[in-house]
Symmetry: none
Subunit: 255 residues, 2 copies
């Protein structure tokens, strides 16, 4: 006979009984996604759903609670549950699986361009001497990484964080910290691209110097332009061409 340990593994692996509420919420999610229940329409009442799926009302409530948390459904006591017109509080998940698809990467680069250029501009207006020192410090760290051939993506992250900190707005700083975890994936590409023979990090570093110079000199428009161009080039380095209309950088230039 099997030991307890094996039985447990066996149980976990094979007979992984899915939660009823999961099945129900997935089923409902599918119905909504397929348009069988359209935005603004009312879901069947809990009792009816319970009979349909052959489960208790508690399970239905838990399933609907998940859809509520995802912002796909809104409930009004006494009225019913309705498919949300505009999903309100979607979880800010970047990708579901292991990594982003190419089209998603393009959109991420667009977002980066938008946010980072705005932040660079604000940083150029507000930076204090201490901020300049901090940013320069990480710039040198990337120089060292380049010289030794090691991975400088961490210093890269820190460099952009330091710029965000120079805005002296805790919310922008925290937003960049938050997004940073996702952006760093797109930055890491530049440092760990096979072979690094294309001199990709060197290019990026040159752009970093331009951004730093503009921020340090207190030139907002230039900081915005260089930051925007940096993201644009970073995208091209991994084979993604950003649409020409893109974002705010060009407006600031007004050329």
């Amino acid at each position: 006979m099997l030991t307890n340990e094996l039985k447990r593994i066996e149980t976990k692996r094979i007979v992984r009984r899915p939660r009823l509420s999961e099945e129900v919420s997935i089923a409902l999610e599918g119905q909504i996604a397929r348009g069988e229940i359209k935005p603004g329409e009312q879901l069947p009442v809990e009792k009816a759903l319970a009979e349909t799926f052959g489960v208790s009302r508690a399970v239905i409530r838990e399933a609907v609670a998940r859809l509520k948390a995802d912002g796909r459904v809104e409930t009004r006591q006494g009225a019913g549950a309705f498919v949300a017109l505009v999903p309100k509080s979607l979880n800010f998940r970047f990708w579901q699986g292991d990594g982003p698809a190419l089209v998603e990467l393009r959109e991420i680069f667009e977002l980066r361009a938008m946010i980072e250029s705005s932040i660079a501009e604000l940083a150029a207006r507000r930076r204090l001497p201490a901020d300049i020192v901090a940013i320069e410090c990480f710039l040198h760290a990337m120089d060292d990484a380049l010289a030794s051939g090691s991975d400088g993506s961490e210093a890269d992250d820190d460099f952009h964080l330091a710029i965000a900190a120079a805005t002296h707005n805790s919310y922008t700083r925290r937003l960049v910290e938050f997004l940073g975890r996702h952006f760093s994936e797109s930055r890491r590409l530049a440092w760990t691209m096979p072979g690094r023979n294309g001199a990709l990090p060197e290019e990026a570093q040159a752009e970093h110097r331009l951004i730093f110079a503009a921020v340090a000199a207190g030139e907002p428009a230039r900081a915005r332009r260089h930051s925007h161009e940096h993201v644009r080039c970073a995208a091209r380095r991994v084979g993604i061409v950003l649409a020409d209309d893109l974002v705010s950088g060009r407006a600031a230039e007004r050329r």
Copy 2:
């Protein structure tokens, strides 16, 4: 005596009883965010939580279900509920207590100005006819709210969401949806300010029209400028003066 209609409005406005499960999930979220329960640690068992908060186990389960949906908590039947080691969707927490302090509000308005103006610009470049229809729809919804004197903050949120959707970049759209929860607090101020005698919502609505016109006409620079000015005025309406250096709007103008 009040008519039914009035009673309903009154009820909606004032006696907005919060759901128990909401209160509990927010409280738990806070405990996790403040590190009172660290990643990997087990939450108190449902029965204990029920006693602590003085509610039934069903409410606790619903609250935990929301945290599960957010990826902050994982449950294992028979073992317990645990704070997730790697939160799937990080929580970008804006304030801990009931609301932001004044200095925080100022920073939030700055962030709003930065993000919303960039998004308005991109929306003006990319919007399709269907987007214009959607945005206009929420603009009218706010008109109706103004006419009836009811709370139009929801339509206000939707208006800005629709603009974000018009960028046709799923990440910017999701970021705005995500931040929207927090921004909506600062928007609600305009609609629920005591008495509304200062004609605050009317002012805001006029600004909304300018933004809409620019986006609909496909004029990025104008959209950015009006959006930026809108946030700036919104801040002033609640008594906050944004620093003159502020953000990207002025660079786009280049006046």
